[in-house]
Symmetry: C2
Subunit: 405 residues, 2 copies
Amino acid sequence: MVKTARSGAENGPVGPHVVRRVTASAVLDELRSGGPFTVSELVDLTGLTRATVIAVCEDLVRRGWAEEHVLERLGPQRGRPPRTFGFRADGGVVVGLDIGAHKTTALVADLRGEILGTASGAFRDSEPGARERLDVVSSTAVAALRAASSAPERVLAVGAGVAAPVDRSGHVAEGSDFWEMFDVGLAAALRERHGWHVLLENDANLAALAEQWLGAARGLDDVAVVLAGERLGAGLIESGRLLRGRNGAAGELAFLGLVDGAVGPHGIAQLAREWGAEAAAQSRGLAGLAPADVTAEAVFAAADDGDPAAEGVLRRLEGRMARVIAVLSTLLNPELVVLGGAIAPAAARLLPGIRLELKELTETPAEVEVSALEGEAVALGAVRRALDDVAERALEIDLPGSQAG
Amino acid sequence: MVKTARSGAENGPVGPHVVRRVTASAVLDELRSGGPFTVSELVDLTGLTRATVIAVCEDLVRRGWAEEHVLERLGPQRGRPPRTFGFRADGGVVVGLDIGAHKTTALVADLRGEILGTASGAFRDSEPGARERLDVVSSTAVAALRAASSAPERVLAVGAGVAAPVDRSGHVAEGSDFWEMFDVGLAAALRERHGWHVLLENDANLAALAEQWLGAARGLDDVAVVLAGERLGAGLIESGRLLRGRNGAAGELAFLGLVDGAVGPHGIAQLAREWGAEAAAQSRGLAGLAPADVTAEAVFAAADDGDPAAEGVLRRLEGRMARVIAVLSTLLNPELVVLGGAIAPAAARLLPGIRLELKELTETPAEVEVSALEGEAVALGAVRRALDDVAERALEIDLPGSQAG
DNA sequence: GCAGAATAATTTAGACTCTAAATATAGGTC
DNA sequence: GACCTATATTTAGAGTCTAAATTATTCTGC
């Protein structure tokens, strides 16, 4: 659909080596996604010739992406012992950052996504400046690297999630006054300080990647992940691709106001407080709390005790969520909607009600599940994003310690 | 984001010829998108060597995709006269079909998208059976080919739009009882009868392709096209790609009920009638029409005459449209929303009101324009779809009349 | 121990493609 | 007619793949 780019001139010179790029990618993909393989297995998997597979593997070993395994033969086998090659998951590391309003989390993972180290840090000020944020983020990342017994030089890519729209070029959308100045700062500053390749991304988008990778949406290609808590936003994946929209603002759910007449967008936690306080004020009970003391947790706890007013609040929340999911289902037709964010722990109890209402609201209801990734979805998604980037650039990257020219 | 497929084995054998495929694509893309070029120009455009470009061009000529032009030199020029090559737009044709409820339209275009012939046919029965539909569609397509002085054997691809969800594999989504049986019938039957390669697609999706190709959204990568009339649906393009969703149902706008409390989905024309009739019944005028006589056209005409009740209906329509567009803008963040379908002729007068309301409803309002493609959007989009398919498969297609083995 | 079977690695020959550099060609200019 | 210019063609060299032939390693059975 419409040309992508003046094709040739920019895509580097063509030549016999592009063939090698294709074959090397094929082999590397197999190695990355599976255990060590014998050459014969790789021949079967890729459809390439034995001679080619060996040449490619030796190439990959030289470049640091693969290693030859010394095989331990279990039982007696016939024939010449095969050579086996495996992916070098320790060829480098990636970092996943979840940069929140008050704190930041860093994960360090190997090239297969195994988490090697974690750290988190809090911003001292409640409204920290760019410098403060940058320092905390940077030192948290370094701390996670230390916990992983790794070092900044070994980092091949960094994924970073922020609670703001991020466009396709990795810039925080204009008009988002708070982040506007900081975004360029983050990617540029981390590159400056450590030489890192930073991929900035909206947090809900990363949560979606994480759910698709390790969570409730594992392996599905059409998914929406709703992050509900103080904020409300969604990460959308269609046909395996993140949707960002023109300015990176896709996935905002501020149409809530249109859906049931509320004024402006509201996080679910906020709503629970607000509606809970209403109920308390109307002296409908809620465990005798004063309206000012009503927290989201208190409402959920009261509902557990059978408080009818609190249960009424939950019904309203179910309705609200069902409407949001109904709009997503109708407009985007995902296979599954995952509920995540701060609401996740409480969401399980809303699920039956939501599913029931959803069926009435749309002809194409998605499945609905609750995230099981706890607080780590965004950081895990950042890891996934970084891994994807590394996989894409693999053959252009010179791995530290490789003997390649 | 997750592996796509067991890479190698299915992708055909690798070898030096894949390089040729790359270079040939690069040259062919340039030729297709521009006038005839001299070899030197192609060298600049593609970054390839002169020797390569000539070899590739001669290859393309042999395969029927390009032709060598005899140059007419305008003024005196220095140097050896260059060879020039051009795309052979007449190497074959594509067909675009708009299969509606009551009639069908067929366009025939050359490989550059120039429309060569048109035809349309009506179904005799109001609820025609599969056989009747198939016969009319087939003969309409053949009539359009005749009008284009072409023939069924020259058809390289057929795009076909239907008013039903179509999933990625080209099948009408299950549960859509009416089309369910017919869809497979259409693609299979046209292949059977004429050997055509048929690409079934949702009509709103095709309208979106058309707007992006020739219409108000020319060249934009993030667009939504709302088809409003008796029915209501949208075609969504994000990052240059159509969104289909899990079952092809993406773009449905039946969430309208959620947005302002209406029951079930309603086409705009229906609403105009309904609300107009309400207004008439409340004896608020509407040019003295009896409620039963109120048509959408009558409402718009009355508004033109300054009838306040009719204007009230238009305000309500503006509000409804603005809400729909607001949801699209917020959730998908397109750059532009195009209003098309039966509403298009009347929509221009709603535009100012819609734009004004939209700004109040979302933080990321899209631009809003009215389609200028008149009734042809779907059929044109079908042509575009077919052309894209041909472009993608170009080097695997044996063009009729080529001397390639 | 040793021939033979089984499996895999390595080598060799052949084909195709690209680039780069050298050579040839077709016009115009002086 | 000699020269200049822009282009075309040829030639040499390198990289890559496949396919087929050759060599290597191990186990089995006697």
